[in-house]
């Protein structure tokens, strides 16, 4: 039985020997290389672009600007198609692509790039949301980009010209009345930093355009979504756009949706040769980042700690183009309140266009921003009410099956049991060492995204099988987990199963690889495809054994009849009359049956930390990290723990060190020297990654997703632990040594 055991990753040998192929490793003979010329202004009108010197530079084949894209749809964007492939008349952020220089080598292209002469006329810029929302602020977008595409159900267009990229609201009960009569009202305002996911393989794509077929190999998490954008740009039917995603060098959401693929594609379309665009880290930071947020949370409590009402106001700095920002905001609105019983709730969220790098998805997807405010708010309330921080949560957490959001799936997790694991592992309630502090927190994310997945399983005449899936392997281990699911279903050894992924012309449709959905939803599709294979094998086996189909069943790789059995390879060979043929099964997942109710599952985050602070320097050490992987059923326990530790580590990065910083028009730290992600020396001294398996997910064997949950409540847990050491409640992350020292040494 493959399920539930920590079998080695199927891609491990390739990854330790250097033979694993990533998009950046893909090259074809005759490929040209492109350099992106980026805006040196935050907001400006483009007066003139002189490409003559660049074109005369040795090895330069073409210089492409938006003027060269006549006949194409010149923008992309899956929610709002507001994002020009190359700036059209105007630039809206420092670092925006303005021209593409295509050369025989990357050096030739870069040399040419230095010679592109762009004249600008500066426009007033807005960097912070409050500037963008101020009366009389310069507008970033005045056009109506509406596609008439209703696929984003929660989007509502902003009718009056404004810098609002998106607004989202959620309300029930009588909030104002509850606040008026409450025993205690606590207000908390927090700032969550602007983050860069730092997938170590920067965005890249190589494209070719031959005989009306566009082929792209890229770092896309969602190749099927990129296909839509490319088909619109080139007015092509979907069957003439092929997007492939090989192994990704990290994703974490940051490679969701279209990024550099249109640049490579227009390069190939313009030159008639394959064109590769491979960004460096600075270019990647100037492509997308995560939303920074200011979140105000007010909560009303009864004397015993019962939550009577909560109100959240969320403002995201979403950058110059919408990208996935509207959906991230919507998710923030759905996730900020926490998995609590809240009789009266009001949430107002605004995603604001500013002259900064466009924001998009990043692991947690709107949850960490709101959770920081919401959870530190509850901890402050506990302190003011004299109630234990675990008890106040126990009083308010929803029970299994209880709905904390009306109209959404009831809670498919035992949150009280998960909380008990965290406080037990942390030794909460015991005395802590001097300058040590403990914090913990909870979150629940409406995960799984929209449930559309398809998978194909092919069982060959030798009894081996291939799984075809459009879900992308970006490190999370889906190639291994899907092989384990197929092996278990088919009753064959998992190394007799190969998983082929993410090729829009060869693998079946997958909506996205995100929202922790693959094991649950793609896993279900694979399971259903396997069951179709088995059903066909029963028919074929019954015929071969000359019995009725009711008399046979499949078991451990064979069709078993009343008087004999045939192994699957023998079934296929007997039925086709030789060593040939194959059996194909298709599995489809859509919003129906058990998946009618959204979300497909709630992704639980339940974490705790014990921190210590060096009073002389303000430096924080993570003494103990606790995560609970509430995944229903762990298909591969070691990979579940790996996801939880990885997610929590990224959360610790955001809590203690990471922040992109704007100083005027420009980012001051668009590199990995000055944007400091966790290093090996930051590893928590003690780590407890606990898995809670209660079979309560809708996925295969009761599984549900993980991988983001353990990031979401880390910020609040860290902030509360620091508050318990310093006596001051932090209002913003990251808690750098300087900030912690200032909290320890108030003026």
């Amino acid at each position: 039985m493959s399920i539930g055991s920590s079998v080695s990753r199927v891609d491990a040998v390739a990854k330790v020997t250097g033979t694993a192929t990533y998009a950046v490793d893909v090259s074809a003979p005759g490929t040209l290389h492109a350099h992106v010329v980026r805006s040196s202004r935050a907001h400006a009108r483009i007066l003139d672009i002189d490409t003559s010197s660049a074109l005369a530079s040795p090895g330069v084949v073409a210089v492409i600007t938006s003027d060269d894209l006549a006949g194409l749809f010149p923008r992309f964007g899956h929610i709002v198609a507001d994002h020009p492939i190359l700036a059209i008349d105007r630039v809206r952020y420092y670092g925006e692509p303005v021209a593409l220089v295509v050369g025989e080598t990357i050096h030739a292209a870069a040399d040419g790039g230095d010679l592109v002469d762009i004249r600008y006329e500066d426009l007033p810029m807005v960097i912070e949301p409050h500037e963008a929302l101020a009366e009389g602020a310069p507008l970033l977008h005045e056009e109506d980009y509406t596609l008439g595409d209703a696929s984003f159900e929660e989007a509502h267009s902003v009718r009056d010209p404004s810098n609002l990229a998106h607004e989202a609201d959620l309300e029930w009960g009588d909030v104002d009345a509850a606040f008026e009569t409450a025993h205690l009202v606590v207000e908390t305002t927090t700032d969550y930093p602007m983050l860069y996911a730092y997938a170590m393989e920067p965005y890249n794509a190589v494209a070719s355009y031959d005989e009306g077929v566009l082929e792209v190999v890229s770092t896309a998490q969602h190749p099927f979504q990129v296909r839509e954008d490319l088909a619109r740009i080139f007015h092509l039917p979907l069957n003439r756009v092929r997007v492939r995603s090989p192994l990704l060098g990290g994703g974490y959401g940051s490679k969701s949706y279209t990024k550099v693929e249109p640049l490579a594609a227009v390069g190939a379309w313009f030159t008639g040769r394959p064109v590769k665009v491979a960004l460096d880290v600075e270019g990647a930071i100037h492509t997308t980042r995560a939303d920074s947020a200011t979140v105000r949370c007010r909560s009303a409590f009864a004397e015993d700690g019962t939550i009577l009402a909560r109100e959240f106001d969320i403002v995201f700095n979403s950058g110059a183009y919408a990208d996935n920002g509207p959906l991230v905001l919507t998710k923030a609105v759905m996730r900020c309140m926490g998995p609590y019983r809240i009789p009266n709730l009001r949430v107002h969220g605004r995603a604001v266009y500013t002259n900064t790098v466009p924001s998009s998805s990043y692991r947690g997807f709107g949850a960490p921003q709101g959770n920081l405010a919401g959870e530190t708010n509850i901890d402050r309330a506990a302190e003011m009410l004299g109630i234990d921080a675990a008890d106040i949560r126990r009083r308010n957490l929803v029970a299994p099956g209880e709905r904390h959001l009306p109209g959404r799936r009831g809670m498919d997790a035992d949150l009280l049991a998960d909380l008990d694991i965290v406080v037990r592992e942390l030794g909460w309630g015991n005395e802590v060492a001097p300058d040590h502090g403990v914090g913990f927190g909870c979150s629940a994310s409406d995960a799984g995204a929209f449930p559309v997945s398809t998978a194909t399983v092919r069982l060959f005449a030798d009894g081996s099988a291939i799984v075809l899936s459009g879900s992308t392997e970006m490190g999370q281990g889906s190639r291994t987990a899907l092989a384990q699911i197929a092996a278990t279903e088919l009753g064959i050894d998992h190394d007799r199963v190969r998983v082929i992924q993410s090729d829009t012309s060869a693998t079946p449709y997958e909506r996205t690889t995100g929202a922790s959905r693959t094991t649950t939803l793609t896993g279900l599709a694979v399971q259903r495809a396997c069951r179709e294979v088995l059903s066909k094998l029963e028919d074929m086996g019954a015929e071969a054994l000359d019995v009725s189909v009711e008399e046979v069943k499949t078991a451990e790789g064979s069709v078993v009849g009343p008087a004999g059995s045939l192994a699957f390879d023998q079934v296929v060979q007997t039925w086709f009359g030789g060593r040939m043929g194959e059996v194909t099964g298709v599995g489809i997942v859509r919003r129906s049956g058990e998946l009618q109710e959204l979300p497909p599952f709630w992704e639980v985050g339940m974490v705790g930390v014990e921190l210590s602070v060096d009073r002389d320097t303000g430096r924080v050490t993570v003494e103990h990290l606790v995560t609970v992987g509430d995944v229903g059923h762990a298909i591969n326990p070691a990979m579940v723990e790996g996801q939880d530790l990885g997610a929590a580590t990224q959360g610790l990065g955001a809590s203690l060190g990471e922040a992109l910083v704007y100083d005027g028009a420009q980012l001051v730290n668009p590199n990995i020297v000055e944007y400091r992600v966790p290093r090996i020396s930051d590893t928590p001294k003690r780590i407890s990654t606990v898995i809670a398996e209660r079979g309560d997910g809708v996925g295969p064997y009761g599984a549900k997703g993980g991988g983001e949950g353990s990031l979401n409540p880390i910020g609040g847990a860290v902030a509360s632990a620091i508050a318990r050491i310093t006596g001051t409640w932090p209002t913003r992350l990251p808690l750098t040594p300087e900030r912690v020292w200032e909290m320890l040494n108030p003026e």
Binding site: K15, V16, G18, Y22, V24, E201, V677
Partner: protein, 157 residues
């Protein structure tokens, strides 16, 4: 163009290279050894680590001309045919990689540690690996893998 004579993964290599071509570009683009990865390109992430004359080197900021007359080991040269190096085996067994983009650099950096110090403490491992970034694993499995690899390398075959 400058002629260089070097040994890469045990094989003699003679090529004419442009002076500005980095060692990473050389092994990836000229030799097709794409296991060497580029990420930060500022010598802080360690993804491009190769071993030159026994020392770890960031190939992103070294020039190809600088390995003239030197011996270079890339990740492709570490295993003995199909027989994985004990460090590679340990990385697999400890799930010390997820996306794997940093893995070649970590493994070669670990090799330079264990070649000098066959019995490292956890502190030794952390100190030696401070110049390698992994964004996926949270590092704990990597530390465990390197300590375990040291044990395996000391054990009689």
């Amino acid at each position: 163009m400058t002629r260089i004579d070097t040994r890469i993964n045990g094989a003699n290599v003679t090529r004419d290279v442009e002076a500005r071509v980095t060692l990473a570009e050389f092994v990836r683009n000229e030799l097709g050894l794409t296991g060497t990865k580029l990420s930060c390109e500022l010598e802080v992430c360690g993804a491009c680590t190769v071993v030159v004359d026994g020392n770890p080197v960031s190939a992103c900021t070294s020039l190809a001309v600088d390995v003239d007359g030197r011996e270079v080991l890339t990740i492709e040269g570490l295993a003995d045919g199909d027989e994985l190096h004990p460090i590679q085996r340990a990385f697999i067994d400890h799930f010390a990689m997820q996306c794997g983009f940093c893995t070649p650099g970590f493994i070669l950096m670990a090799k330079t540690l264990l070649d000098d110090n066959p019995e490292p403490t956890e502190e030794d491992v952390v100190h030696h690996m401070e110049g390698n970034i992994c964004r996926c694993t949270g590092y704990r499995p990597i530390i465990d893998a390197v300590i375990d690899a040291a044990d395996r390398m000391r054990a009689p075959r």
